[in-house]
């Protein structure tokens, strides 16, 4: 493996920075379009509400952004995880209960909760692989299992948090343009995803989502890769749960609307629900766009019911335009 990776990295290094940038623009047109939309929306929001702070957006978006990243990974591998909201709730209350009990052990507790997410994901993945029941059915069942477990851990909202969790995610780092929550998100996702994406395991995740048979024949262990993908999703769900603990300061056993938001962000972010295509940056930007649209509609004084309808319409429109552009590019 090392020899292969070596030649590959050299091959990449040999190409100039400009060529790489050109390829990024070509290959990731959708993500760039999303970033442009996001910047446009941001300017619009600032005009509406000059005092609007990026940190509020970043904190509110952090749990959902982790969920979107987790969902994106499993969708890229050709699956889907409907239990992601429940897993967030379970890890959220577990963290809240443990942190309220012994705040001095906060670091081991955080690591333990992350491990819990990883294990839960591995259980989901193993069940999908062993039962051969479609992913959507297994994870739908597990949605109830993990939601019930969350209620067992904590019957009513409660528990606590530690100050440092809130501190690392709120406010700005230096200039008031870079919210800490965004940095945390990018650092954590980057630290996990970039090495993975460059490894054979990361390729395998894309490969089984793109064409299982071709992957199998290329020597990929399809079952193991699938379990790894679900485990990663569980890990990111736990990160989302911790982010909830950090931002609310308590544990809430009833899952929020994170499942549907995560799927929406995945679709908006250019990840194919059929698997094999897309990245993590798109869904993250997607979450920020959804958050801004919601804020803008509120600032415009739209009533909540109508604003939800408008959000849905915007999403369908954006995805349709994207699909149309992709089709046209393929035809050309």
């Amino acid at each position: 493996m090392s020899a292969t990776a070596g030649t590959r990295d050299e091959a990449i290094e040999r190409t100039s920075l400009r060529a790489r940038a050109a390829r990024f623009v070509q290959g990731d047109t959708w993500t760039i379009a999303l970033i442009v939309i996001f910047i446009g929306l941001l300017v619009f929001t600032r005009i509406l509400r000059p005092a609007y702070g990026l940190d509020a957006l970043a904190i509110a978006a952090l749990p959902v952004a982790f969920a979107a990243v987790g969902q994106a990974i499993v969708v890229i591998s050709g699956g889907i995880d409907l239990s992601i909201g429940s897993v967030m709730a379970l890890t959220n209350v577990t963290a809240a209960v443990l942190l309220a009990g012994s705040p001095e052990l906060s670091v081991p507790i955080v690591l333990l909760v992350l491990l819990l997410g990883l294990v839960i994901g591995a259980i989901n993945g193993t069940l999908v692989v062993l039962s051969r029941v479609p992913d959507i059915v297994v994870t739908l069942a597990m949605l109830f299992v993990w939601a019930g477990a969350a209620l067992l851990v904590l019957g009513t909202p409660g528990g606590g948090s530690v100050p440092w969790l809130r501190e690392i995610t709120s406010g700005y780092l230096g200039i008031p343009l870079v919210p800490k929550a965004l940095i945390v998100l990018l650092v954590v996702v980057g630290a996990i995803w970039i090495p993975l994406r460059r490894s054979r395991l990361g390729l395998s995740i894309y490969a089984i989502g793109s064409d299982r048979l071709a992957a199998f024949r290329s020597g990929v262990d399809v079952a193991r890769t699938k379990i790894v993908a679900y485990s990663l999703t569980g890990l990111f769900a736990a990160l989302g749960g911790l982010a909830l603990t950090a931002s609310t300061g308590i544990g809430t056993p009833i899952p929020g609307p994170y499942l549907l938001l995560s799927v929406a962000a995945v679709v908006l972010g250019g990840v194919s629900l059929a698997g094999g295509r897309g990245g993590l940056l798109g869904p993250i930007v997607g979450i920020y766009i959804l958050g801004l649209i919601r804020a803008d509609l509120t600032f415009l004084g739209m009533e909540p019911g109508l604003s939800t309808v408008v959000q849905g319409v915007i999403m369908v429109a954006v995805v349709m335009v994207g699909a149309y552009l992709t089709l046209r590019r393929q035809a050309a």
Binding site: R8, L203, V220
Partner: protein
């Protein structure tokens, strides 16, 4: 003889009650190009899957370089030095070429050298596999296999759907293995290619290895003989059954369906023929010779790239199966589930084409439908004990329902695509009879079948397709199995039967 590089003996594999392999063996010497031959269903593909670890055998030994191996996955086979290139390239479409190489841990420089040798030196490795043409992907797949210098390279229909110049390159590269330490197992329907390339051939029939043939002049005939087996070789007399009336007598002015220089997709290159009313025209072909595309075009599922299609003398262009149905042409596919609503009742299935003709908002005349359905059921003797859901019927009865639905709908041209696949022998007979009856009632029938002995039973005349072209045409009473099989492999007719007339156009007198 020296020692063998790869030896598989006594390989057995059952799928439920069906025996895919009963006693297969193959022995490959170092530096040899070894062909694996057999008719459809002889067990070739199962043996390949077992050798490459994709399927586990029930019994049998696989010995590589004198060591017994139990191969459990393609990855493991690869590590033990056995690499295969399949008919559909094992390339992941959403990854770039480079990433695909990383996935199989293939050294890039060796790959580059192989790709250049195969004639694709300008390949951009950063492109996504999805955007590359199929022929290129197959070359990439082969180059990737060659790059790791496997002991045994297994090529399954490697040259199918490759353009001629690339085929020549590939064959040259494969020939380079001769006399080295490494070997090639070569599977191809193209007998000429096999005869020109390989050293020996192992022939499978009905899951058994029935012979190993040294390549020499005349070996192709020996191989075909082994593929057929003793029963079919002697001419067992059943080939004379094509009953009925001479269709030439009732010929119309213009043929019901006429096709000129039809080309579609990658496999259908040039097909021309006519079907007349009251005629059953057979079509014999090995897998993937363009018959799928031909039927897709005729039934309106695919648009032709080139050529002309005439129905009753007027040019037709189908954009949708509904257009073909409107022109009175329907497809009866091999896969019943592609034609029927499996969870609905027999009545609804038979009634469906009729209801499709009712105005969009119109009501269905239930009384008339019930009468029509009953008439169709009676006529076809459909066993309707399990009426409520079509999927609970036997395969044969399902196929009858597929046919029955068109009987009342004014259809005059039937396209049967392997209609008896997986159907028991008695129902098969009933379906042949039905096909004959349809023709007697004035329908034109095109019947493709993968079971060559069906052609003399059901047809008046038959075409043979090979490599996307119609290569032969003969009256059905001359179309015995050996003749068809040879023609379907692209071989010249043997001297023994009246060969001069084999290419005579116009069919029956």
């Amino acid at each position: 003889m020296s020692e063998l590089l790869l030896e598989a003996t006594g390989v057995r594999k059952h799928y439920g009650a069906v025996a895919a392999l009963r006693d297969a063996s193959v022995a490959v010497r170092p530096g040899e190009i070894h062909a694996l031959m057999g008719a459809n269903g002889a067990g070739k593909s199962t043996l390949v899957k077992i050798l490459t670890g994709a399927v586990r055998p029930d019994a049998g030994d696989i010995v590589l370089r004198g060591q017994r191996r139990a191969v459990h996955s393609p990855a493991e086979a690869r590590r033990t030095g056995l690499v295969s290139v399949y008919q559909e390239p094992a390339i992941v479409p959403d990854l770039t070429v480079t990433e695909n190489l990383a996935l199989t841990e293939t050294p890039i420089d060796a790959f580059r050298a192989q790709v250049a040798e195969l004639g694709l030196s300008k390949l951009d490795l950063r492109r996504h596999a999805r955007n590359l043409p199929l022929a290129t992907l197959r070359i990439i797949d082969l180059a990737r296999a060659l790059a790791i210098e496997p002991d045994v390279l297994l090529l399954d229909e490697m040259t199918a759907a490759l353009p001629a110049d690339l085929t020549e390159r590939v064959l040259t590269v494969i020939r380079g293995h001769r006399g080295t330490e490494r070997s090639v197992i070569f599977i191809s329907h193209r007998m000429l290619e096999v005869a020109g390339l390989c050293d020996r051939a192992t022939v499978l029939r009905e899951g058994r290895t029935v012979g190993v043939v040294e390549m020499a002049p005349g070996a192709a005939d020996e191989i075909v003989g082994l593929m057929l087996g003793p029963a079919a070789h002697g001419g067992d007399g059943r080939a004379t059954a094509p009953a009925g009336e001479p269709p030439g007598a009732v010929r119309e002015e213009s043929p019901r369906l006429a096709v000129r220089n039809l080309a579609a997709g990658r496999s259908l290159l040039d097909a021309s023929f006519e079907i007349h009313a009251g005629e059953v025209l057979g079509l014999a072909a090995l897998e993937g010779q363009g018959q799928d595309e031909l039927f897709a075009v005729l039934s309106g599922q695919m648009r032709p790239d080139d050529g002309e299609l005439r129905v009753d003398g007027t040019t037709a262009a189908f954009r949708h199966p509904a257009d073909a149905i409107r022109a009175g042409i329907v497809l009866v596919p091999a896969d019943r589930s592609a034609a029927l609503l499996m969870q609905r009742s027999v009545r609804e299935n038979i009634g469906l084409p009729g209801t499709a003709r009712v105005g969009r908002w119109g009501m269905i005349d239930m009384g008339a439908e019930r009468r029509r359905v009953k008439a169709a059921i009676d006529r076809l003797q459909i066993d309707t004990r399990a009426q409520s859901e079509v999927r609970r019927l036997s395969g044969g009865n399902q196929q009858k329902v597929t046919i029955a639905r068109w009987l009342g709908a004014g259809v005059r041209t039937f396209l049967f695509f392997d209609p008896t696949r997986g159907i028991d022998i008695r129902t098969k007979q009933e379906i042949y009879q039905l096909v004959r009856e349809l023709a007697r009632a004035g329908a034109a029938v095109l019947l493709f079948t993968s079971e060559l002995d069906e052609i003399p039973r059901a047809c008046d005349r038959t075409l043979v397709m090979f490599g996307g072209r119609i290569v032969d045409e003969m009256p059905a009473d001359r179309a015995d199995e050996p003749t068809l099989l040879r023609a379907a492999h692209g071989l010249q007719p043997m001297a023994a039967p009246p060969a001069g007339a084999a290419a005579a156009p116009g069919g029956t007198t």
